[in-house]
């Protein structure tokens, strides 16, 4: 089974969290939470299993705009993303989300997440492993200001060449 094989591969990587999710409720099968130093190895594992990268995107978890019921870490909810690492709710974070899909007969949609500090958002690029990540990471940089270390050309993709603002940040004012 593809999902089981993947889980074995990832166990070797020692992720921060790995959860089987309910596909009918969430739309994906496997939810893996990693540290920023592990994303390239994760991408290599996925490439080795024949996966393709569907999208790379970011989410801005500005704590004042964090989910209202979850003043404390959302473990209590039971419905939240269970793979949230136990950090203090004060430190502001951004999240980079990678969506992987396999184009073969077996369906196992995988979501890989990584939380990075908002004050200094950087993590390694996976564009060496998946060439398509090049544009996705440029777009994420445009929208959030996340720096992808080792990226060949992080110039604006969708915003104008001289743009120095990042529109999808929660504290962005026009």
């Amino acid at each position: 089974m593809l999902c089981d094989a993947l889980k074995n591969d990832f166990l070797a990587l020692a992720p921060l969290a790995m959860v089987d999710t309910d596909y009918r409720a969430k739309g994906y099968h496997l939810d893996i939470n990693l540290a920023s130093s592990q994303v390239v190895q994760a991408a290599t594992i996925m490439a080795g299993r024949g996966y393709t990268l569907e999208a790379v995107t970011g989410v801005d978890w500005l704590s004042s705009a964090a989910p209202k019921p979850a003043k404390k870490p959302a473990v209590a909810e039971g419905e939240e993303v269970p793979a949230e690492p136990p950090v203090a709710a004060v430190e502001e974070q951004m999240e980079v989300v990678y969506d992987y899909i396999h184009t073969g007969k077996e369906l196992c949609r995988v979501v890989v997440r990584c939380r990075i500090p908002r004050a200094n958002p950087e993590l390694p690029t996976i564009s060496e492993v998946f060439a398509g990540a090049n544009w996705h990471e440029r777009e994420t940089h445009d929208f959030f200001g996340i720096r992808f270390l080792g990226h060949p050309d992080l110039s604006p993709l969708l915003l104008p060449e001289d743009a120095d603002f990042h529109p999808l940040l929660k504290d962005f004012k026009v």
Partner: protein, 372 residues
């Protein structure tokens, strides 16, 4: 042919294709470094029609974002409606009645045919054949009239709602659609005789614009681009949603990896969509078209959700992060053509300009969908 282009002592010059250009459908700029007629380096430059739909998603309620989905890929807007409706219904746990599901599938497939017909006309126009465009538009008019009678729009649809569709279809639509299916089935042989079997077209497309399955995997290309490279992946079969599991249809796959393969995939998909619509009309059940228990104000539980649908150009994926309020916290639109175009720089190295344009046409680009 390819090694001629990389002679280091040749002078190269940079030429701009677009953003105003008859062949780039939409505002796309491609910076080409050319060595005579050969392309040394191609770099698409995006952002000319970037409207920041993802930010708009955060400033609107869930229901208010539905019209935005129609403005992304305006040629296949109903698929985008479907993707968004699917993800919110998944998040909020709304059940869609069966009649609505069938109506959704029928209208989405009609939209897919309309999109492919326009692609066909525009693609052959790029290659210099002016006439098929008008024949395709003639057929497309029928589809647009049918869809207008039901949805009220011809192009940028906003027909689906969370829990169903807002307007039921009537008998005129059903008889009109059946008549249209018959008409298009009689026209498709003409298209194949005049265009597909035309020796000039075959010379222009065969073995031109090779995109291997491995390149598709590295770039995340999906849709007819992937199926023209021999990989049988279609979200409707691999990750079924709506009532597709109950319908009988094939996925055309061609293994030659050239522009001709991608052309044939789309032409065959038109026929398959006709089959789906026929079966959908035959199996259409009676019933409501809107879920009774659909809440007026949507507030999905906290968390993030994902849905993927097969749009005319590939996998349209949509990821929403909900914070329990009535506006999305984050809305990510995964556009198929974005990934399809990202392989253009690598794929057209060493090609002739005319071949590179044939390749671009065979990727079926809609720039507003790329730029969002």
């Amino acid at each position: 042919m390819n090694d001629l282009a990389c002679s280091p002592n040749q002078e190269t010059f940079v030429i701009n294709l677009g953003p105003q250009h008859p062949a780039t459908h939409g505002v796309l700029r491609v910076k080409l470094t050319m060595d005579g007629e050969y392309i040394v380096h191609a770099e698409p430059v995006l952002g000319y029609i970037h409207r920041m739909h993802e930010k708009m998603g955060e400033n609107r309620t869930w229901a208010q974002f539905m019209p935005n989905t129609g403005r992304l890929d305006y040629l296949g807007a109903l698929s985008y409606n479907h993707g968004y409706a699917l993800v919110v219904e998944r998040a909020a746990g709304i059940e869609v009645p069966e009649r609505a599901e069938y109506i959704r599938v029928i209208t989405v497939e009609l939209n897919r045919i309309a999109s492919h017909l326009l692609w066909y006309g525009a693609f052959v126009l790029d290659l210099g054949g002016f006439t098929p465009l008008l024949y395709a538009f003639d057929d497309r008019e029928h589809i647009l009239d049918l869809l207008e009678s039901v949805t009220g729009s011809r192009l940028t649809f906003c027909y689906f709602r969370f829990g169903g569709v807002y307007n039921d279809i009537d008998d005129n639509f059903i008889t009109g659609t059946r008549a249209f299916i018959k008409r298009l089935r009689s026209r498709l042989p003409d298209y194949h005789n005049l265009v597909t079997k035309n020796v000039i077209l075959i010379n222009r497309l065969k073995d031109v614009g090779m995109i291997s399955a491995e390149m598709c995997r590295r770039y995340g290309a999906t849709g007819p681009v992937l199926r023209g490279s021999g990989v049988c992946y279609d979200v409707r079969k691999n990750e079924p949603y709506s009532v597709y599991p109950e319908l009988n249809f094939d996925i055309p796959v061609y293994g030659e990896c050239d522009s001709m393969a991608r052309y044939m995939v789309r032409m065959d998909e038109i026929e398959q969509s006709l089959r789906i619509i026929e079966q959908g009309l035959d199996k259409l059940p009676e019933g409501p078209v809107m879920a009774e228990k659909a809440p007026k104000i949507i507030k999905p539980p906290v968390g993030d959700y994902y849905a993927a649908v097969e749009a005319a150009r590939g996998t349209f994926g949509i990821r929403v992060v909900s914070d329990g309020t009535n506006t999305p916290y984050r809305l990510k639109l995964r556009s198929p053509t974005f990934s399809n175009l990202s392989l253009y720089g690598e794929a057209c190295q060493g090609m002739l300009l005319a071949d590179a344009l044939a390749l671009m046409g065979s990727l079926d680009l809609v720039i507003p969908e790329i730029d969002r």
